[in-house]
Amino acid sequence: MKWTAFAAILCLAQDPPALVVVADDAKQPQVAVDADGGIYVTFLRGGNIQVSVSTDGGKTFSKPVTAIDSRGNARGGMQRGPRIGVDAQKNVYVSAPVCFDDAELKQQYPKAELWLAISRDGGKTFGDKVRINEVEKKAPEALHWLAVTSTGEVHVAWIDGRTGKPAVFYKVFTEAGAKPGKDLRLAEPVCECCAPFVAIDKGGNPLVAFREGGQKPSREIFAMRSTNKGKSFQAPVQVNRAASKLPT
């Protein structure tokens, strides 16, 4: 009896997990894990979008490499940093909002575009970036989320103002990120300062969550599902069961 109680206390006493510094002078991290437990972390560092990888279960991380050379101009804050995903071939996909327009960079709040860069060698090097949003200067903060299937389809949702109201737009890249689909408008108006979220099942069917927008005393959380790999989505369903009391 005493031993049972002692064992129960041991089980409840939590040893803090071992912490490992992935990178110094870095912020706004996101993480992906491959099927073998390889860990891929992206973050903002020195105004660039960088990636560090662990292949030993998180004991050590590689020296950061630049995924998107933002010439030091990448900005973060809140949840505006890069996102990362990895497929079964260990292709690594990184997305981030960055402004490369010199005239725009002179503004206090330069309008960013949303970019995707891909590594075909497990995060050691990255290819040239491609723009995700089709219409320039309409997704100024490019608050977004990215999810990647094991077969290399890349799903991205972001806040885009091209219709005049903040909307969730969506795009799928197929062929391991090489072939972009068309921008798809999912919902509007949505919260202009809340990133949407994308999750994906093993069959490649995405789920998108977002906070609604508009003049309301309580902006609620909604979700939309696709059963055809992101070609179209079902009507949004409210997630929270009581008013969340987050006003406009």
């Binding site: 939590q14 803090p16 997990p17 071992a18 912490l19 490992v20 510094v21 992935v22 990178a23 002078d25 870095a26 912020k27 991290p29 996101q30 993480v31 992906a32 894990v33 491959d34 099927a35 073998d36 437990g37 390889g38 860990i39 972390v41 973050f43 662990s54 279960g57 998180g58 991380f61 949840q79 940093g81 990895v86 300062c193 809340c194 990133a195 949407p196 979220f197 994308v198 999750a199 099942d201 093993k202 069917n205 789920l207 998108v208 969550a209 977002f210 906070r211 959380i221 979700a223 599902r225 079902q234 369903v237 409210q238 997630v239 929270n240 069961r241 009581a242 969340s244 009391k245 987050l246």
Partner: protein
């Protein structure tokens, strides 16, 4: 503001959501979550076992076998700088402190193989990693 978080099980049957919510008093943010079959959502509740202070910025991930859903979030329950807390659906509401001495923010989580990886930023401008305790 704060992005809602979502996760879907590998077989697509189960979903999980977490978000910042002020329903309790209209002031202090808490993190609520719900686990559902598809989008048939019936209940929700606070993910944290303490609503003292602010909770915010959740993220979720299903285990590769779809049996557990993990949640991490910022938590200011101690009244000082925020720390990273976590739980999973098998812990029956128990929370685990994940971060160390530094003030920590913006946690992210992902699962693959046997690994449940959590990262966050600190007020020392470092990015830290911890494996979610087994």
């Amino acid at each position: 503001m704060s992005a809602p978080a979502a996760a879907v099980s590998p077989d697509g049957k189960k979903t999980a959501f977490a978000w910042m919510d002020k329903r309790r008093d209209g002031k202090d943010p808490d993190v609520y979550w719900t686990l559902a079959t598809g989008l048939s959502i019936s209940t929700d509740g606070p993910v944290s076992d303490s609503t003292a202070g602010d909770q915010n910025h959740p993220q979720l991930a299903f285990s590769p076998d779809g049996k557990l859903v993990y949640a991490v979030w910022e938590d200011r329950r101690s009244g000082g700088g925020q720390q990273i807390y976590g739980t999973h659906s098998g812990l029956k509401g128990k929370n685990l402190a994940l971060s160390g001495q530094s003030r920590a923010a913006y946690p992210a989580i992902a699962c693959g193989g046997e690994m449940v990886a959590v990262v966050w930023e600190t007020d020392r401008e470092t990015v830290e990693f911890a494996q979610f305790p087994k």
